[in-house]
């Protein structure tokens, strides 16, 4: 079994123990090294993401994208980094200096923290904690705090508006997100991410497609990406919460946003697409990293696809969509899945089997169809309401006696 990471860890343990260090200290050093390796890997991936993002958006907009520096413009992100580093670092007057400088760090650090629980391969993961799903939600909450701090500390009205919009959006979209994450938990009977991946002999996107869709939509909202980019709407509030940031501080927000997108992709892959699962992964565990990153990158591409295809939604539509469609649908899905699960287990159909997944899929299709027909009825009523002739004014309410108008 070829497993380089654990071989290296084993070799280092033997080496350090051979030097006469106590076992507690050896574990501490190895954990520290693991943290450094994962964080560095993710940050280097982040530099590459700048190139991916610019290249893909160029293709969506029928352009070439960066193509001057290096093959396919691959050196371009390095030039971007140098540009950001040598820019003047401006702190606006009246800004709350400590909070202002802390905010970009929090924006990037919270994204890095998410990678602590994502399993890379059967034998490679940061921490297999029993409350992994809740951990992800909790870290997301701290990320929101970073954005509020940025918006408030900038001493700028547009920044504050952006921060208020961010709170309204992330706090409300957290609800369907958490509820939709309950479905993989019900199906896997565990909140540990490694356990959820292990149980996916059939990808959970088959057993819970609606939950997957709800998770994807609320993930895009959590990211604040188009069509949910109200927090930084350039044409309305000129970039919102990060309007005052320049140079590398802006760079941290930018890097955090890109990395958050691919992290959400990795989380989606872990919950619904089988994570590191793929052919030959049992023999060669390191292949799991490749599969996970490939799935994460595909989801990242989907998120970009949505971003560059859809216009920004209005804030009331955004909230309506969440509270009137996504949240009730997610709650219905949880109840239906839990009931059907009990029923199927009662009928001696084990969880994760083909028949189990089939009945789950049938239930999903039925609820999806019911939702769509409800929406169609609603849209028809709404169209009739909008299409009706509206009175231009209501004279009886104005208090002025209408003259020259006769009642018909």
């Amino acid at each position: 079994m070829f497993d380089p990471m654990n071989s290296i860890a084993q070799w280092l343990t033997d080496l350090l123990s051979g030097w006469g260090l106590s076992s507690g200290l050896v574990i501490f050093i190895l954990t520290l090294l693991g943290v450094v390796v994962v964080a560095t890997f993710v940050l280097v991936l982040d530099i590459f993401l700048v190139w991916v993002e610019r290249k893909v958006v160029a293709r969506f907009q029928d352009r070439l994208g960066p193509n001057r520096l290096g093959p396919f413009g691959l050196i371009q992100p390095l030039a971007d980094v140098i540009k950001l580093l040598i820019k003047e670092d401006i702190t606006p007057s009246g800004a709350d200096r400590v909070v202002y400088n802390l905010a970009p760090i929090m924006a990037l650090a919270t994204v890095l923290l998410l990678w602590a629980v994502i399993p890379f391969a059967p034998t490679m993961l940061g921490a297999d904690i029993s409350v992994g799903v809740l951990y992800i939600v909790a870290i997301g909450a701290i990320g929101t705090l970073g954005l509020i701090m940025a918006g408030w500390a900038s001493n700028n009205k547009y920044a504050l508006l952006g921060a208020l919009r961010t709170v309204a959006m992330t706090v409300s979209y957290e609800v369907p997100m958490v509820v939709s994450l309950l479905l993989p938990v019900i199906l896997a009977r565990s909140m540990s991410l490694q356990e959820i991946v292990n149980r996916q002999s059939i990808w959970y996107i088959v057993a819970a497609p609606i939950a997957a869709l709800i998770f994807l939509i609320s993930a895009i909202a959590e990211l604040g990406r188009a069509p949910f980019d109200l927090a930084e709407a350039e044409s309305e509030i000129v970039a919102g919460f990060h309007i005052e940031y320049s140079g590398m501080k802006f760079g941290l927000f930018y890097a955090g946003e890109l990395l958050h997108a691919v992290t959400m992709g990795a989380l989606f892959a872990t919950f619904f697409l089988g994570g590191w699962k793929g052919p030959f992964v049992e023999q060669v565990p390191i292949l799991g990293v490749v599969y996970l990153l490939a799935k994460a990158m595909f989801l990242y591409w989907v998120i970009m696809w949505v971003k560059y295809s859809l216009p920004r939604v209005r804030i009331d539509h955004m909230l309506d969509f969440n509270w009137k469609l996504l949240t009730p649908l997610a709650l219905v899905m949880v109840m239906a899945t839990a009931l059907l699960d009990k029923l199927l287990i009662g009928l001696a159909i084990p969880a994760g089997s083909l028949a189990y997944t089939f009945w789950m899929l049938v239930m999903n299709i039925f609820i999806g169809w019911a939702t769509l027909s409800l929406l169609r009825t609603h849209a028809r009523v709404e169209r009739m309401r909008v299409g009706e002739p509206k009175p231009v004014a209501r004279p009886e309410l104005s208090g002025v006696k209408p003259t020259g108008i006769t009642k018909v």
Binding site: G24, D96, V99, I129, S130, V131, L134, Y135, V137, A138, I139, G140, A141, I142, T144, L145, I148, M149, W152, L160, A163, L164, V167, V171, E174, M191
Partner: protein, 169 residues
């Protein structure tokens, strides 16, 4: 001193210091951010006690919901940085006295407990505290009544908020 004790003292100092700053900071937003720090310190305490679920819920509920709501509320008010009044009431001496007595009493009570000096027994690998908690919350001879009552209370609060916010035409 073990590493665990050193970490505990550092975290406890951080939590207490942040708690002091919550009430002494002149800027309301700073108070709220110090509150977040103090709550995070409590979450670290839970991690040190091997109560991962409580730690995560602490962060999710107190930082993710309550602290953010407080900050949101503060942002909607004016003059958050111009609180120039005295930081303490005139009765701070009495408050200090009662706090010291309470702390001393609790310490004395704990010191007379037989398990005070004992090292915590390590949990076995197979022990799943999360599952135990979940089963205890819904089992009839566990806490199902308290759990359901809390749910009903929250539901009532939810409906109450809706009724207050209802736009009667």
């Amino acid at each position: 001193m073990t590493a665990l004790q050193i970490i505990f003292i550092l975290v406890a100092a951080m939590t207490l210091g942040a708690g002091m700053l919550v009430v002494t900071a002149r800027n309301l937003i700073h108070s709220a951010l110090w509150l977040v720090t103090a709550l995070f310190g409590v979450a670290i305490m839970f991690v040190l006690l091997e109560a991962g679920f409580l730690a995560v819920v602490q962060v999710m509920v107190y930082i993710g919901a309550i602290a953010i709501l407080i900050i949101f509320g503060i942002m909607l008010t004016r003059k958050i940085a111009s609180d120039s009044g005295p930081r303490f009431t005139e009765n701070w001496g009495w408050a200090l006295f009662i706090a010291v007595v309470l702390f001393g009493g609790l310490t004395w009570l704990l010191a007379s407990w037989s398990g005070f000096q004992a090292e915590p027994a390590p949990l076995s690998e197979r022990f799943d505290s999360l599952r135990q908690l979940g089963v205890a919350l819904v089992s009839p001879d566990g806490y199902v009544l308290a759990f359901e009552l809390a749910s009903v209370l929250l539901l009532a609060a939810l409906i109450g908020a809706l009724v207050i916010a209802w736009d009667r035409k």
